[in-house]
Structure formats: structure tokens, C-alpha cells
């Protein structure tokens, strides 16, 4: 009996050792959000390059960072949010990109790149972007204006919510006053603080998830939310609409990067190049309903897609928007202002 058990254990060890070490030349390991790339596109890439793409998943940017920082290796490509990529870059965890190996780089939206954290695509290439805005009930909100000034409207008192997120809400007030989401100027922050305190008198509360349910149920008439969430809400409830404030908004983007520890660099470059192909990028947009900052691909999208304000962001607003940046130690300035807002009567 004992012998048999030991034998079984040894057999299990051998099987595992076999499966975990059998890494082939022709495998590309992508660390990504689940269901974030059109599976058709993956099959197409595999056929074209005679390889296998193996996806692994994380549930938050922070979890991904904790894991790879601790030393987890074996991934050839990450797809995650810009601000986290910026942090990884500062810690020398990413490879610099050789633009000669990515022919389709010219398709990337130049307008967007001006705002990106990595303007020259030194280490990252944008994949999909999302943004914040205002979702509202068309029946209840009269004279809607696509502007952050809506939160100053007294007739909607107690029927609005702002995001319970310091960077988003203080940022919206900064934008309303004509400043950047990433400002470090204390005078600008003080002005934004006063604006939010004024808005606070009109809103029901600072909320993220509860607000969406409240808007759907008719408890709230107007909420500050993200485009992806608004798209879901509008699909359920035809009375709802979404708009991006004309003053500009916050953009966040998921980018593709090659980690310093990547093993199959050649395939990783091929994959980035492939994902930037207009037809491929359009297929991905169709599949996940997000907008890719890819000028050539956007031209291929149906009008219905591009006209939906919860998906497409007009170039005129992109120009005025900002990508949220991780401010490191300077975050204290924001938390100080946020505390003052929360304390204000």
C-alpha cells in the first residue's frame, strides 16, 4: 500500500513536471483580461504564424503588478492599464520597443498619442480605451447639456451622484475649471475643491456601483460613470443616454507591452503588429464594444458604432481630455483635497 502511494505520488510529480516544463518555441503567452480579444482573431494569428497563443488572466492591475513584481515569469506580453504600465516602466520591468519590427504602428491614433503617458510608444502600444462621462435619464432631465456644469443644477438636487473616486471627481472639477486631471498646482486643486463642495450640495452621494442601479430604477436622474457601464445600462433601459462633457474627460487605456522577462520576443512583436492591423482591430472593437485608438480601424467601423456616444469619443473632446497618471508621492495633494471635500458641510 505504502509503496503504491509513493509510486502514485511520483507519477503525479513526473506528469506535472512534464506539463509545466514543456515550453515550446512556438508558444506565445499573453497575460490579459479574460474575454478581451476576439477569439477569431487569435485563431487567425495562430494560423498565420504557425504557433499557439496561450492566455492567462488577472482580475485587477494591482494583482498583476504584485504578481510579476514578486518574480513571476514566463509571460511574453501583458495587456493592462496605462497607469500601471507607467509604474512598471519606471521600475525597468519592460522592454523598449523596436519600432522597426512593428509595421502597423502608423495606424495608432496620433491625436490620442499626444495625451498618452507613453507619447512615443517607447515601451507600450495602446489596445483599447475607455472614458468617464455622464449617464442620465432622458425623461427626467430637461435641457441636458453635455457639461460637468450639470452637477451645479439645483433642479436636480438629490437626484445626482458623482464617482466616489478622488481622481475622477476632483479631476472632473479640475476640467470644469479648465485645468488638467493630473495637475500638481495647489491653487488649481483649491479651486477644484471649491467646485466639488458646491456640487456636493446638489448630489445625493459619492457612489460607484449603487448609482448604476439607482439610475436604472429611477432613483437617480444623472450619474457620473464610465462608458462601458453606461453601455450596459443603456442596453437594459431605453430611457437612458450617455454624454461626454464638452470640457473634456478622463481617458484610460489598456496597452500592450513586452516584459523584460519575455522569452518569445519575436512572436510578441508579431502579435502587437497583428493587433494593430485595421481589420483585426475592427474585429476586436466589434467583439468587446470598446474603442481602439486606431485611426485606420475606426474607418472600418459601422456608423452606428461610431455614433454611439458611449463607445466613440469625438476627436474634439479627445483633444481636451487627459489620461490619468499615477502620481506616486504627489497623490497626497489629492487625498488632502478629498478629505476637505468629505468634511465640508
Amino acid at each position: 500500500m505504502m509503496k503504491r502511494i509513493v509510486l502514485c505520488l511520483l507519477a503525479a510529480l513526473v506528469v506535472f513536471a512534464g506539463t509545466s516544463c514543456g515550453k515550446k518555441e512556438t508558444e506565445l503567452h499573453v497575460y490579459n483580461w479574460a474575454d478581451y480579444v476576439n477569439p477569431e482573431v487569435i485563431t487567425q494569428f495562430e494560423k498565420a504564424n504557425n504557433c499557439r497563443v496561450i492566455m492567462d488572466f488577472f482580475d485587477s492591475n494591482e494583482a498583476l503588478y504584485a504578481k510579476v513584481k514578486a518574480g513571476a515569469v514566463g509571460y511574453d506580453l501583458y495587456i493592462c492599464s496605462s497607469y500601471m504600465i507607467n509604474v512598471m516602466y519606471q521600475q525597468n520591468m519592460l522592454k523598449s520597443l523596436d519600432h522597426g519590427k512593428i509595421d502597423n504602428l502608423g495606424n495608432v491614433d496620433k491625436q490620442y498619442l499626444k495625451l498618452a503617458l507613453d507619447k512615443d510608444m517607447q515601451y507600450s502600444v495602446p489596445y483599447m480605451m475607455s472614458f468617464a462621462g455622464i449617464a442620465y435619464n432622458k425623461d427626467k432631465v430637461k435641457n441636458f447639456k453635455a457639461s460637468w456644469s450639470m452637477f451645479g443644477r439645483e433642479d436636480l438636487k438629490g437626484r445626482m451622484t458623482l464617482l466616489n473616486d478622488v481622481r475622477e471627481t476632483v479631476g472632473a472639477a479640475l476640467k470644469f475649471n479648465g485645468f488638467s486631471y493630473n495637475t500638481l498646482s495647489e491653487a488649481e486643486l483649491a479651486k477644484a475643491r471649491d467646485t466639488v463642495i458646491k456640487w456636493k450640495k446638489n448630489i445625493a452621494k459619492f457612489e460607484v456601483d449603487e448609482a448604476k442601479r439607482g439610475l436604472d430604477a429611477g432613483e437617480f436622474f444623472l450619474i457620473h460613470t464610465y462608458n462601458g457601464d453606461a453601455l450596459q445600462l443603456m442596453d437594459q433601459n431605453k430611457k437612458l443616454a450617455f454624454a461626454v462633457p464638452e470640457e473634456g474627460t478622463s481617458l484610460s487605456c489598456d496597452d500592450m507591452v513586452i516584459p523584460e522577462t519575455a522569452q518569445n520576443i519575436k512572436l510578441a512583436y508579431a502579435f502587437i503588429n497583428f493587433m494593430l492591423d485595421p481589420a483585426v482591430s475592427a474585429k476586436n472593437m466589434e467583439y468587446i464594444n470598446y474603442l481602439a485608438p486606431n485611426t485606420a480601424a475606426q474607418k472600418l467601423m459601422p456608423e452606428e458604432f461610431l455614433k454611439n456616444p458611449a463607445v466613440n469619443l469625438p476627436a474634439s473632446i479627445v483633444k481636451k481630455s487627459d489620461v490619468l497618471k499615477d502620481l506616486g508621492a504627489e497623490n497626497v495633494k489629492y487625498s488632502k483635497v478629498w478629505d476637505e471635500i468629505k468634511m465640508a458641510q
Partner: protein, 255 residues
């Protein structure tokens, strides 16, 4: 005397809160509307999408491989640990006792990150094997606990009787002790299987390239994926669970 109706309401409440959400999930998995807020008509497209999604199947097979091997190993090691704790009351065994209890009280995230650092330091390749090791680490404790409960009622004199009649200690364990403990061992094994198949926190840290398990996939899908596909997956899982329960009940009744 009037019988109180309170127990009836409590039972109804439990049924409503436990089973109605499951029912809603299953009904919604046939819903045409992408986000399941309103009924948009009957469809099987989410099941179709699920069956064509090879990442799901890859994750499911990974989960099953890990769960089955974890169950087996922790059943063996957990039982051995429980018997040792029951039989010997030395200083070393009290240390062992602490070790067995430890994974039950240490937060998952600490186990996860410390195992990851440990594997990285040893340069062990992260993958199914490291998930298996991590799962065995905490599953042993659960199996040992259940088997120890069973041992409380175990009368050691039957072992002594067997040995008096000429059985070696090893034969006595095999022919007497193990059969008597079997229900406890299997109950522990089932517990280990469930814990292993739905563990997220520890698995996330010790997994490696190509070794995503089903919980990792589902959690990650919350961000961008379609909730309807998750509903379809839940529908299939529930159906299988119910079939297994019905079969095992039938088997028990026949005996």
C-alpha cells in the same frame, strides 16, 4: 394548540434566498439580451459561445486536473497526519498539530504571496504543479480535521484485538482502521475537492503561464467579458452537480 408557522417562513426564506438566485441565473442564460436586464427572447447563443470558447475549456481542464490530484494527495497525507496526531502525544506531534491548524487561520493572501516568493526563490517553474503543491498545503489541514473528528469515536481496542489475533500493525490499519475511517476520509476528500476547484486568491499567485484555472478566468471576465457566458457556465455546472447528487443518492439507497 396552534403550531407556530415561524419555522415554515424560515424554511421558505432559505429556499428563496438559496435557490431563486440560481434559478434566475439559469433562466438568464437563455436570455437574448446581452446584459440580462430584460427578457429579450429565448436563445442558446451563450451556450454556443461557451462551447466555442477554448479558453474556458482549457481553464476547466486545468481546474479538474489540479482538484483531482489535490484531492487524492491530501486524502492520503491528511489521513496519515490525523492518525499520527491521534496515536502519538509527543512534543513533535504538538508541533505537527500547530502546523496542521496553521493554514486554516493564516489569510489566503499571505499563503499565496509567500508561496510565490518561495517558488521564485527556488526557481521552480510556475504552473499546474505549483498550484497543486499550494492546494495540497491547505487541503491537508481540512482532511486531517475531518478524519480527526472521525477518530474521536474510534475504539482503539478493535486494533488491539486484531493484533492479538496475529495481524501485523500494518494489516490492522489496512483492514480495520481505514474502512472504519473511510466515510471521514471521503468527506475530507470532497471538502478538499470543493476548496481546490474554487480557490482564487492562492491560485492567482502561484499559477504560471498556460495554467489558468476556471475561477481565475471567471473573475477576470467580470471586467470586460459577457456575464451571459458566465450564466451559461453556471447553468451547466449546476446541472452536473444535481446529476451527481441524484446518482450518489440512488447508489446509497440501493445499498
Amino acid at each position: 394548540m396552534n403550531r407556530s408557522r415561524t419555522p415554515f417562513y424560515i424554511v421558505m426564506g432559505i429556499i428563496v434566498f438559496l435557490y431563486v438566485p440560481l434559478l434566475i441565473v439559469i433562466i438568464n442564460s437563455f436570455n437574448m439580451s446581452r446584459f440580462g436586464g430584460e427578457w429579450g427572447g429565448f436563445t442558446l447563443k451563450w451556450y454556443g459561445k461557451l462551447f466555442n470558447d477554448r479558453d474556458v475549456w482549457h481553464a476547466l481542464s486545468n481546474s479538474l486536473i489540479v482538484a483531482l490530484s489535490t484531492t487524492f494527495t491530501s486524502m492520503v497525507l491528511g489521513t496519515v497526519a490525523a492518525i499520527a496526531l491521534y496515536r502519538f502525544r509527543t512534543f513533535l506531534q504538538s508541533v505537527n498539530n500547530v502546523f496542521i491548524y496553521m493554514p486554516l487561520v493564516v489569510p489566503d493572501i499571505l499563503i499565496g504571496i509567500s508561496l510565490l516568493l518561495f517558488f521564485v526563490a527556488l526557481k521552480v517553474h510556475l504552473g499546474l504543479f505549483t498550484i497543486y503543491l499550494a492546494h495540497v498545503t491547505f487541503c491537508i489541514s481540512y482532511v486531517a480535521m475531518v478524519v480527526m473528528g472521525r477518530l474521536q469515536d474510534f475504539n482503539y481496542s478493535v486494533m488491539e484485538a486484531a493484533m492479538d489475533l496475529g495481524a501485523s500493525w500494518f494489516t490492522a490499519v489496512r483492514r480495520i482502521m481505514i474502512p472504519i475511517l473511510a466515510p471521514g476520509i471521503f468527506a475530507g476528500g470532497l471538502l478538499a475537492f470543493t476548496l481546490s476547484i474554487d480557490d482564487f486568491v492562492i491560485t492567482f499567485f502561484v499559477t504560471g503561464p498556460g495554467a489558468a484555472t476556471l475561477p481565475l478566468y471567471i473573475y477576470s471576465m467580470m471586467k470586460h467579458g459577457s456575464p451571459m457566458v458566465i450564466n451559461a457556465l453556471t447553468g451547466i455546472f449546476l446541472t452536473f452537480t444535481f446529476i451527481i447528487i441524484i446518482i450518489s443518492k440512488k447508489l446509497l439507497e440501493e445499498k
